[in-house]
């Protein structure tokens, strides 16, 4: 009977990671947020047991139910063996001692609520931003310390430290495992959306190697954004974030060519854009239009939607994009937004105009290490025919931190500009 088995195998395809987050969330609710470590350990052991048992026994009828049962038992063992002091021991023991659930392929709906509470706990505004990001990936998304470190290009010890600190804060400050009460919702939701946005950006950044981990970050960010947007504590800006991530995610496959080289938006093969994600982005952008608040996610999603709708680069409505960047500057007057606005300005009013404005942020300390500042100037100079100067600015961009694919891209552009400059010097 190949059919049922194929069905189960496809369920199992994503089972370990999704179950990890859901089961850790569930056990954290049962044991209390102070025992998050214990919850993680019990779940890790349950997953390892599945890995060691299922190849021999075959996949059980209800894999998530099996994991839930084993994780409960393991948690109970750990509580007993370590003499863990719980708040309501008898209730916890009763909860963990439940018989195995009837065969069913999905975890109970209630676990999804636990997952949502876990997101809000991990993103509690009392925690530092770095801790929130690390804890969300670890406890909600089932990433290991090593995987988080790889994704954020830092040492595993650094991530481990952030997690320890976050868990200590949860214990010492008695942070609650609950959906935020309405008077705190705005701040809590902003914190959650910010973390999801950071996760996505980190995955989206054009780094080399570990492509799988990075794509996972993007799809995980989108999954979390959807979970929050479709929850009882959602607000229109959550739909705006889903929309933004869907539009950006749609272009992921087109951003790199077969040789692994970066492809700029204007040069991408638009057939490779994911039409289903673009449709999702459009639907959610419409849903985000309710209410009074205009968040920066609204504006960014709107910008992304204009790019997504353009059949080819020349059809891009740059004037609308420039207007939106003006809105974005009003909401979030950051140096990076200013730089992006100047790119749009160049498309609408020409490179000279953009170069003038660029001078105003040339010395901005926030952009000192940002390679896109000199490389934007270089591109604009090349458009005006100043190839020699453009080559110098590409060289300057290469002197700032960037990833290997970006480095190769800048080197290629620098060489092209040098060649152009030489050709223009020679009398023909």
């Amino acid at each position: 009977m190949p059919e049922p088995d194929a069905r189960i195998t496809s369920v199992v395809d994503h089972l370990f990671r999704t179950s990890a987050g859901q089961l850790v969330s569930y056990l954290t609710r049962v044991l209390g947020p102070a025992h998050l470590d214990l919850a993680e350990e019990a779940v890790q052991d349950a997953l390892a047991k599945a890995l060691q048992t299922w190849p021999f026994s075959g996949i059980p009828d209800n894999p998530p139910g099996w994991l839930l049962h084993v994780a409960r038992n393991r948690a109970l063992d750990l509580v007993r063996h370590r003499g863990v002091v719980l708040q309501k021991t008898s209730e916890v023991v009763a909860e963990l001692s439940q018989p195995r659930a009837a065969p069913r392929l999905e975890l109970p709906e209630a676990l999804r609520d636990d997952e949502l509470c876990m997101i809000f706990l991990a993103c509690n505004p009392a925690l530092s931003r770095d801790s929130r990001v690390a804890l969300s990936l670890k406890a909600v998304s089932g990433f290991s310390v090593k995987e988080i470190a790889r994704a954020f290009l830092c040492e595993p010890a650094t991530i481990a430290q952030r997690l320890v600190r976050a868990k200590r804060q949860i214990r010492e400050q008695g942070l609650a495992f609950e959906l935020p009460p309405s008077h705190q919702l705005g701040k809590s939701l902003d914190s959650v959306l910010e973390v999801i946005y950071l996760l996505f950006n980190e995955g989206y950044a054009a780094h080399e190697g570990d492509d799988l981990v990075r794509q996972d970050l993007c799809s995980e960010a989108l999954r979390l954004a959807l979970l929050v947007a479709d929850s009882p504590v959602s607000q229109p800006k959550a739909h705006a974030l889903v929309s933004l991530l869907a539009f950006q995610g749609a272009r992921l496959a087109a951003r790199v060519d077969d040789q692994g080289e970066l492809v700029l938006l204007q040069d991408q093969d638009r057939c490779k854009w994911d039409s289903r994600l673009i449709a999702l982005g459009s639907r959610r952008l419409a849903m985000s239009a309710e209410g009074e608040e205009l968040s920066q996610f609204h504006v960014q999603a709107a910008i992304a939607s204009i790019h997504a709708q353009a059949k080819d680069p020349s059809a891009t409505d740059w004037e609308a994009i420039l207007d939106l960047y003006d809105d974005l500057m009003a909401l979030n007057p950051s140096s990076v937004v200013a730089l992006n606005r100047i790119v749009a300005l160049g498309k609408v009013h020409g490179p000279e105009c953009a170069l003038d404005e660029l001078s105003a942020i040339q010395e901005d300390p926030a952009l000192r290490d940002y390679y896109l500042l000199p490389s934007t100037r270089a591109s604009l100079l090349a458009e005006t025919g100043e190839f020699s100067q453009a080559a110098n600015y590409f060289a300057a961009a290469l002197g700032r931190p960037c990833s290997e694919p970006e480095r190769r891209f800048l080197t290629r552009r620098m060489q092209e500009c040098r060649d152009q400059a030489l050709r223009l010097q020679k009398p023909s």
Partner: protein, 122 residues
């Protein structure tokens, strides 16, 4: 057709270090190997041994009972598969891509003595 048994030895704690995603990938490989053998109609039995609980008995009087070799040794007999193959070489060939080897474990390949054959030859 001759029958073979492969004995899988490994460190039972090794999977504790893997991330859920890495476990997922490991499981796919383990499951895939068993599935392949099943589809070829070769698999005649497989079992996992429980972790941790076990004793080794030695001698008669006095009998010595020790906590198995698994507490000292890093590698423990964790499970086995029995299957049909044309020859010992073929059995090795079929075992070569068992993920146990990729994940740092050891696999012992043994032929099961066909006792009816042995009796006839005697």
């Amino acid at each position: 057709m001759p029958q073979y048994i492969i004995l899988l030895y490994d460190d039972p704690k090794k999977f504790a270090e893997l991330s859920p995603q890495e476990m997922q990938e490991a499981f796919k490989k383990y499951h895939g190997w068993g599935q392949k053998m099943r589809e070829q109609g070769r698999l005649t039995g497989s079992n996992k041994l429980t972790d941790g609980a076990g004793r080794v008995l030695r001698g008669k009087s006095p009998m010595r009972v020790t906590d198995g070799p698994f507490t000292e040794g890093k590698e423990v007999l964790g499970g086995y598969y029995m299957f049909n193959a044309d020859s010992y070489e073929h059995a090795i060939e079929l075992t070569r891509d068992h993920p146990q080897l990729e994940y740092g474990g050891t696999v012992e390949v043994r032929e099961i003595q066909d006792l009816s054959q042995a009796a006839r030859n005697a």
